[in-house]
């Protein structure tokens, strides 16, 4: 059976309930409206004056680290490993695959040679499983990449880590191909 009731906007005011005389008594405060009066107020007051409000959209992560406008031409040369800024992972794994070791190494060498550069390692997961667990998994992946860079000599101060779990998929879709592309760490250079 399918029900399609009509929608009604509700503004909330106190609701009065009185029991019929010939029936059982209930506490009239049962529906005093306190619980339901709040949420609408939240829409009309509160953090509208907060300084953080009027920013423009930053957008999601661009697949190729699109914020790094000041990077050199080697970053856009497809034959240079620096042009690759995404490290992919196997299911439920945070191990950096052999294929991506040269990519991580190239960025590590670049960071060592350019100590004023700073990267954010953004860990991500596919959509399966629970969301907070996926946050943890994404962080574990980002930390694997960070460890590999540090072993090669990158200063910890050049690295930041954030995990978005499954909250920022690179591609939408519910199949293996989408999941593969979403299990990733993005190496994002901060603008200089």
């Amino acid at each position: 059976m399918k029900l399609k009731p009509t929608l009604w906007a509700i503004t909330c005011s106190a609701l009065l309930l009185t029991a019929c005389g010939d029936t059982e008594e209930k506490d009239p405060s049962f529906l005093d409206g306190n619980q339901q009066s709040g949420i609408k107020d939240a829409s009309t007051s509160g953090l509208n004056n907060d300084a953080g409000i009027n920013g423009s959209a930053m957008g999601g992560s661009l697949p190729n680290g699109g914020r790094s406008a000041n990077l050199g031409p080697e970053f856009s040369d497809p034959n240079n490993p620096l042009s690759k800024r995404i490290v992919y992972f196997m299911l439920d794994s945070s191990q950096v695959l052999q294929d991506f070791v040269p990519v991580v190494a190239a960025h590590a060498q670049y960071l060592i040679a350019n100590p004023s550069q700073h990267v954010v390692l953004e860990g991500n997961s596919d959509e399966r499983g629970s969301r907070e667990y996926n946050i943890a998994l994404g962080e574990k992946r980002a930390k694997s990449v960070a460890e590999m860079m540090k072993i090669q000599g990158v200063s910890e101060s050049q690295l930041s880590i954030v995990s978005y779990g499954e909250e920022k998929p690179a591609v939408s879709g519910n199949d293996e191909s989408a999941w593969e592309q979403n299990r990733r760490v993005e190496i994002t250079y901060q603008g200089q």
């Binding site: 009604w8 509700i10 009185t18 009309t44 959509e127 907070e132 962080e139 909250e167």
Partner: protein, 411 residues
Amino acid sequence: MLLCGLHAPTPFAALSIEITEGTESALPVAVVPFAASGAPVDMSAVINADLQRTGYFKMLDQQAMPAQPSTLQEVNFKDWQAANQNYMVVGKVSPNGAQYDIQFQLLDVYKSGQLMGYRMTSSSNDLRRTAHHISDLIFEKLTGKKGSFSGRIAYITTSGGGHQLQVADADGFNPQTVASSTEPLMSPSWSPDGKRIAYVSFEHKSAAIYIQVLANGQRERVAEFPGINGAPAWSPDGTRLALTLSKDGSPDIYVLNLASRALLKLTKGYSIDTEPSWSPDGRSIVFTSDKGGKPQLYLVPSQGGEEKRLTFSGGYNSRGSFSPDGKYLAMVHGNGNDYRIGLMELASRTINVLTSGPDDESPSFAPNGGMILYASKKGGTAFLSAVSIDGKMQQKLVFSSGEVREPAWSP
């Protein structure tokens, strides 16, 4: 960047409710259309839908009703006995100035008398909520259990490139955005008094946990440590927040005392420990850990102490949450590519799988423990569903656009 207390009306993206699975052994109840002149809400239809989706009742179709009485005096009980009804609800809604007077009676068809009757007054805007309260009264009278119709649900949506924390009525109507950000929002958790919500926001490009007062939209940042600040869960007494922090390396479970801001670390080691949830008595916390290799559920005393593994079957058990009576744990139960909502009886440790997958997550109990709300994905769309704890009744809350996830049922 975050917008809170957004004034722009939330597009009424919701909603239709589809009853996707029913049960044969339900109690026959007829909610007779209320006599209503010009009321903007069909209250009897709201009550009928509320009762139907609990799975406890078999609602009589309007076409099959022998008559449409609106008071006890007008009822010919023999007709309703012949229609095999156990109970019926009659009522009327009449304008009274700017308000409406509502009267309803719950009748026992076989005893030919009234079980309960109320007269109440409501503003036009509150008619739907009033109908939900009537459903609560009827449900409790007929089942002895508290109804969950007049509560609210919080959930996260993604639309127009942004993320919103929304709060709606328990049936998904009247959605309102209470926080909005271009960066992800996650993991809403209600305070036990239903007045505040804790959630995770990435608005500064890193995770932080906020507590927001629903009444005025004001909020406070309670955790912004390096690394993960996630999975807030309010203690049943409202004084503490369990959460996940990775400031010491790997993600661990902590308890934050909201008054003193003292942090108690409950887990340690190199494993992922996350998704804390309190037992109703506040003594224990269930959490997800991969210390055995795969994510499984563990229990730890909320004051600290020895951990105990709870789940052994299935390769993936996560995001446990206690039923309000403390007898069950709902969880995400995964096998291979299939993630469903599982319900474990704590006494026997047996897990019943309640849903059909393949990507079900974020189970949240109704305050009466009778249903579990969860997020689901099928064919590229994300929606909320509810399932009765016996798995027999399924309903789907369909939102017309955008992704809807992480439902949390208010206390």
